[in-house]
């Protein structure tokens, strides 16, 4: 199997419209300020961390396909463009670019608006809104924006599906069906989504945004970060609880090391965090929990975890970073990124010998 490298990163988050803004927020380590979402019929609003309006309208929104799109597409497109900067450095190559967009809730804003119109009077519901409600819409727009994209998939699942997306991207590269592959996790939010989350965790703070990772087989144009392993997806079943699945995932990643980072999915919700806390109880190394700072961004948060892990390795702060994704209702999956060329483990773990497979 060919080795897979990270050649670009992008992020849109409540901290701002690019990776430096997210990096700064994570380095500061303080949860971003809370906003509120009015919940009809309730005096107490729901809590959220929202993507700020950009100071300047992003140039990408001038693209004809993006003028009427919902925020999720705009987040996905902005993160994708940032991660695909490497393509602009050598436009003559005309690399074939795969696009995998991963979503959990997807296009909730337009779905909310459109279904509201249907219930008011189906005869006058706007035909402009409906196409943007479809899960596949963000991927379609991103593909149109980027051009030479022969392979495009939208994957749906709980947040751990982002690593399935990375595995699909790696598979396409290894089969030489594309030259590079962008894997994007994105979500948008509104009060209805926050209401849904509230039913499962009252303390959850919903957020939105996107994260993007560009994969390639070329170390030379990479950020010197290698996607070293993705664990098996450990699906929750009647026989395998979320806690057991988290432990199985953890067992496939290496023991703690002082030169390594754990980028976990803890957000401070005791009940939701418990299986992941238990699975990583042995971890004594550095730890980063982006959701504590940025909020529960579902698939976007999963992407932020991976982007933050890659960024930490790319910057040289850590020789390796493990990502723990214990999804809310489907599966636990982990991943490991290493500094390209660095030898970080004397005792090869199960993970370091694994191939990357969905």
């Amino acid at each position: 199997m060919s080795r897979v490298f990270v050649c670009g990163l992008g992020a849109v988050s409540p901290a701002g419209w690019n990776l430096p803004a997210m990096r700064e927020a994570l380095e500061k380590g303080e949860p971003l300020p809370l906003q509120t979402l009015e919940r009809p019929g309730w005096a107490k609003p729901l809590r959220a961390r929202l993507v700020p309006k950009p100071v300047l309208r992003p140039a990408l929104l001038a693209h004809p396909r993006l003028r009427r799109t919902s925020p999720i597409t705009q987040y996905a497109a902005a993160a994708a463009l940032e991660a695909a900067t490497v393509l602009q450095s050598n436009p003559g190559r005309n690399d074939r670019l795969g696009v995998v967009v991963c979503l959990q809730s997807g296009c909730v804003e337009y779905s909310y608006r459109y279904f509201g119109e249907v219930l008011r009077d189906a005869a006058t519901a706007s035909p402009l809104l409906f196409p943007e409600t479809v899960f596949a819409a963000p991927a379609s727009h991103v593909a149109a924006l980027l051009g030479n994209t022969p392979l495009v998939h939208t994957l749906v699942g709980d947040p751990a599906a982002f690593l399935q997306g990375l595995a699909v991207g790696a598979q396409w590269l290894q089969e030489q069906r594309v030259d590079r592959c962008l894997v994007i996790g994105a979500e948008e939010t509104n009060w209805l989504l926050a209401d849904g989350l509230w039913h499962f965790e009252h303390s959850a703070v919903v957020s939105g945004g996107a994260g993007a990772i560009c994969l390639s087989l070329e170390p030379a144009t990479s950020l010197a970060v290698e996607l070293r392993a993705i664990t098996d997806p450990h699906t929750y079943t009647t026989r395998k609880s979320r806690a057991r699945a988290a432990q199985a995932m953890r067992a496939q990643l290496p023991p703690a090391s002082p030169v390594e980072l754990l980028c976990d999915g803890l957000d401070g919700s005791p009940r939701a965090d418990a299986p992941e806390v238990a699975a990583w109880r042995d971890w004594a190394g550095a730890r980063l929990s982006p959701k504590r700072i940025l909020g529960e961004g579902l698939m976007a948060a999963a992407a932020w975890q991976c982007v933050a892990a890659c960024d930490a390795v790319a910057s040289g702060r850590f020789l390796a970073a493990n990502v723990s994704l214990v999804g809310c209702n489907q599966q636990a999956v982990g991943a490991r990124f290493e500094r390209a060329g660095a030898s970080v483990s004397d005792s090869p773990s199960d993970a370091s010998e694994r191939s990357i497979s969905p």
Binding site: G116, A122, T149, V152, V156, E175, K240, N329
Partner: protein, 398 residues
């Protein structure tokens, strides 16, 4: 190899009922009863008549009672495929599903309660959980005793074909020896209203490739396939229904909801599928078209078929089974793959009974009446909202 197939459509539950319906070109549209369509232009669809009870599975009574319409169709299809294949439960068996809407009707119910009676919480968590496609995937896993990875592809109307194609690639690359794959979608008010507001629904009758066609019709259903290597199937002594031999997927960047008028991406998907299958248009005995019945889609697909098939065009039998059961969106590609297996196993071609006047743009013969045929290799097209196009090539196993 395909060793099991399950199918649910408005023509019935299971292979025999569907084979009889497709072979005769039965039309299954009727007035919509699932939600209010009084303010819609169009008031018919191909609704499935679901049985009151599900077949025995590992689901508890409580789990089965909680299932939404989409999940029930999925369980029925998966159970049929599973039983036919004779597979045993396993903790490492992957599943690949295609859907566009998951359990949308539960999402709609959640919306209604949250906006109309916001102080009521009863069953809201269940709705929030069960409307998500991964919960439906886990339902199938629970029903059949599976524990492997679940991948859900949502490439709009190409989802079902992409799911089967992705599963085939997982086997072909040696990553897995067997995969359970398919697609599903249930009718929902949001989606029905959406297509109606775009004025793409036919106010008369869905007639793909007819000169007088005036839109698509929506349907619902599910289909599941058990795919495995030939070695594995032979070792088990399994019956083989047919073989997936080619798959191609491309993206049409022309527009979110309209195909490129020249059908470039459709042509590329067909060419790629045939390239992987190592066949030429001359080897294809029947083409199950995406054929939604909208003027733009059918024109683009007709042109793509003509460009792809060349001299074979004039003699290549084509039909769209959406004329019988409507457009099943995420379920369409999987259901049409099972129809393809039926044609290969039983040697007939599915007609479009309502077809009247050939469109001059369609240079191929439309199957208009029930007919037997010698069918060795078929091609099945699925083209999605958003531009993902996907094509499968299936071959008879003798």
């Amino acid at each position: 190899m395909v060793t099991g197939a399950g199918i649910v459509s408005a023509l019935g539950i299971g292979w025999p009922a569907n084979a009889a319906g497709f072979r005769a070109g039965r039309i299954a549209f009727r007035p919509v009863t699932l939600f209010d369509v009084s303010r819609q232009r169009v008031k018919t669809a191909a609704e499935v008549e679901l049985p009151s009870a599900l077949p025995p599975t590992r689901l508890t009574g409580k789990m089965a009672r909680r299932l939404d319409r989409a999940s029930r169709m999925l369980v029925l299809a998966a159970h049929e495929a599973w039983a036919q294949a004779g597979w045993e439960p396993a903790d490492d068996l992957p599943m690949v599903l295609g859907t566009t809407a998951g359990g949308m009707s539960l999402g709609e119910a959640y919306f209604r309660v949250a906006t109309q009676t916001p102080q009521r919480h009863r069953q809201q968590p269940t709705r929030a959980l069960h409307y998500q496609p991964q919960t439906q995937g886990r339902t199938i896993a629970s029903a059949l005793g599976l524990g492997g990875p679940i991948t859900i592809i949502s490439n709009a109307c190409a989802s079902g074909t992409n799911a089967i194609g992705h599963a085939w690639e997982l086997i072909r690359s040696g990553r897995h020896p067997r995969v359970l794959a398919g697609g599903y979608d249930a009718l929902s008010q949001l989606v029905f209203a959406g297509f109606d507001s775009l004025q793409t629904l036919s106010p008369t009758l869905c007639r793909p490739f007819d000169a007088g066609r005036d839109g698509l019709a929506l349907g619902e259903g599910a289909a599941m396939l058990t795919l495995e290597t030939l070695d594995r199937a032979r070792r088990r002594g399994a019956g083989i229904l047919g073989e997936v031999i080619g798959y191609g997927t491309t993206i049409d960047q022309h527009h979110l909801t309209q195909p490129h008028p020249q059908g470039d991406a459709a042509l590329a998907a067909m060419a790629l599928a045939c390239q992987t299958a190592r066949v030429t248009p001359a080897d294809i005995d029947y083409l199950n078209a995406h054929g939604t019945g909208t003027p733009l889609n059918d024109s683009a697909e007709a042109l793509a078929i003509r460009r792809w098939a060349g001299t074979r065009t004039a003699t290549l039998p084509v039909s769209s089974t959406k004329a019988s059961i409507g457009h099943l969106l995420g379920g369409a590609g999987a259901v049409e793959a099972v129809v393809g297996l039926m044609t290969l196993r039983e040697q007939w071609l599915p007609p479009e009974a309502a077809f009247e006047t050939p469109d001059p743009a369609c240079a191929f013969p439309i199957v208009r009446a029930p007919q037997d045929g010698r069918v060795t290799t078929i091609l099945s097209n699925s083209f999605g909202f958003g531009g993902v196009n996907a094509t499968l090539v299936l071959r008879r196993w003798t």
